[in-house]
Amino acid sequence: MINDKDSQKIVDYIQNFSRKHSLFVMAYGTGCGAIEIPATMTSRYDAERFGIRGAATPRQADVLLITGYLATKTLKRVIRVYEQMQEPKYVIGFGSCTINGGMYYDSYNTINALEQYIPVDVYINGCMPRPESVISGFIKLQELIQQGKADNGKRYRENLEWYRTNQKKIIKNWKMPDYNW
């Protein structure tokens, strides 16, 4: 007989395997890096062979790609999108701008380190990273998922206060403008 622990292990393995091979990427380009995504998805580099495909809304998405610099105004929307996503969710920081500000390190309006505001699983460096490095970043994320180390949503829930403090430091007003549909 298999005991509970072992059966949980089997379930976890199956879940992680399917999670790893089916990554729905939120189609939300925040900076200039979004231009690399069509190249990654289409015929030359074909990310769909790894099970990576686009999802139109945050409810369906698993991966949030932060493609490039984040203005504080965009950060507000990014946090909103991130919080609408369902667990398990993963965040990939894309390009130098998300790591240390890149060429916008002294700008009055762009953040410098993404992981201070939302938890990040994988960083892809480069300005811009080529599709090869994007795919290698995704493969790194797949390894983390298989090992069960990609616990983005859990980290955010447990350290919510700390993240909120950092977010509030630059976002003073959480009210969204009225878009008048």
Binding site: S22, R49, G51, E87
Partner: protein, 314 residues
């Protein structure tokens, strides 16, 4: 009592087969689409991985009663319709609850899932959902007309409203209805382009403009359930077309295990061939606008349906 047990077992078997076949067809289409676009493409079992992942996602959204039950309506509608579709002609392993008039019943039931979905999507309050639902219902008004005309032509021609009878007629006469009433078949084929929502008619869930339309507030388990329902539905539509026009599959005179397997093989070949029609059409077509789609369906397909009806009467 033994008969009932066999029927329940058959019903479960039918559902599982419909699900597996529908999901695999979807995966094969993804692979073929990738090959056409000169990509390697995902493996054919990709849809199953997606489904397991979606079902293992957590859900903490609440959009009210209809929002919760919308995927369930789709599943209910698809399994109910499946029970009335003869999978194999006169086979004990795939029993169906056919009665005289089930063709009309199916016409109504096929809309049921979409309506439940529409109500659920409406309750989520997402503007994209509302637009998607409007588009979907408008397009349904478009393709239902040639579809119903084609089915009415068959009903008038053979004085029956039972799918089983139509299959039996094809079996006995040896001619498929596609040859005895080609215009009705063409009208129904054009309507199927709209039913499968492949490319020129993917205005409902248009990802670029509507953020997947009615589904935009449904993720995780909801989306997985919808995917299951959709796969069963695509199998239903294909089997219905094969039953009505392409002679169905299976032979009521031979109901052994090998005859059943051969019947399933024939069914798979026929349904897959039919499935490729909307897929091929989708590969070479960009997206229509809603009014263009409706004008398309009310043009030649409807004319063909009327010709088929006249053909059936005389």
């Amino acid at each position: 009592m033994e008969d009932l047990g066999l029927k329940i077992f058959g019903a479960i078997l039918t559902t599982i087969m419909a699900f597996a076949v529908g999901m695999t067809y979807g995966g094969i289409v993804r692979k073929l689409t990738a090959r056409v676009q000169n990509r390697f493409g995902p493996p054919f079992y990709q849809n199953f991985l997606d489904l397991v992942k979606l079902q293992s996602k957590k859900t903490n959204i609440a959009h009210g009663f209809m929002g919760h039950t919308a995927p369930v309506w789709i599943i209910i509608a698809s399994i109910t319709v499946l029970m009335f579709i003869p999978i194999l002609n006169g086979n004990l392993w795939f029993p169906n609850l056919n009665f005289h008039g089930d063709l009309i019943f199916i016409l109504y039931m096929m809309v049921f899932g979409s309506l439940g979905m529409a109500l659920g999507a409406g309750q989520t309050g997402n503007p994209n959902s509302a637009i998607g639902v409007t588009r979907g219902l408008s397009m349904m008004v478009g393709y239902e007309i040639p579809f119903v005309l084609a089915l009415v032509a068959l009903m008038v021609q053979y004085h029956t409203t039972s799918i089983q009878d139509l299959m039996q007629i094809q079996h006995e006469s040896g001619t498929w209805l596609i040859f005895s009433n080609p215009f009705a078949f063409l009208a129904a084929l054009f309507a199927s382009l709209g039913m499968f929502r492949y490319s020129p008619f993917d205005i409902v869930g248009a990802p670029a403009e509507l953020a997947s339309g009615p589904m935009s507030e449904f993720g995780g388990k909801y989306l997985g359930t919808m995917m299951t329902g959709g796969s069963i539905f695509s199998f239903i539509k294909l089997t219905l077309y094969v039953d009505l026009f392409l002679g169905g599959a299976g032979n009521p005179d031979h109901i052994g295990i090998w005859a059943t397997l051969a019947g399933i093989g024939v069914l798979l070949i026929k349904t897959f061939t039919l499935y490729m029609v909307p897929v091929f059409y989708g590969w070479v077509s960009p997206r229509y606008r809603t009014e263009q789609a409706i004008r398309y369906f009310w043009g030649w397909p409807t004319a063909l349906g009327i010709i088929g009806l006249i053909w059936a009467v005389y």
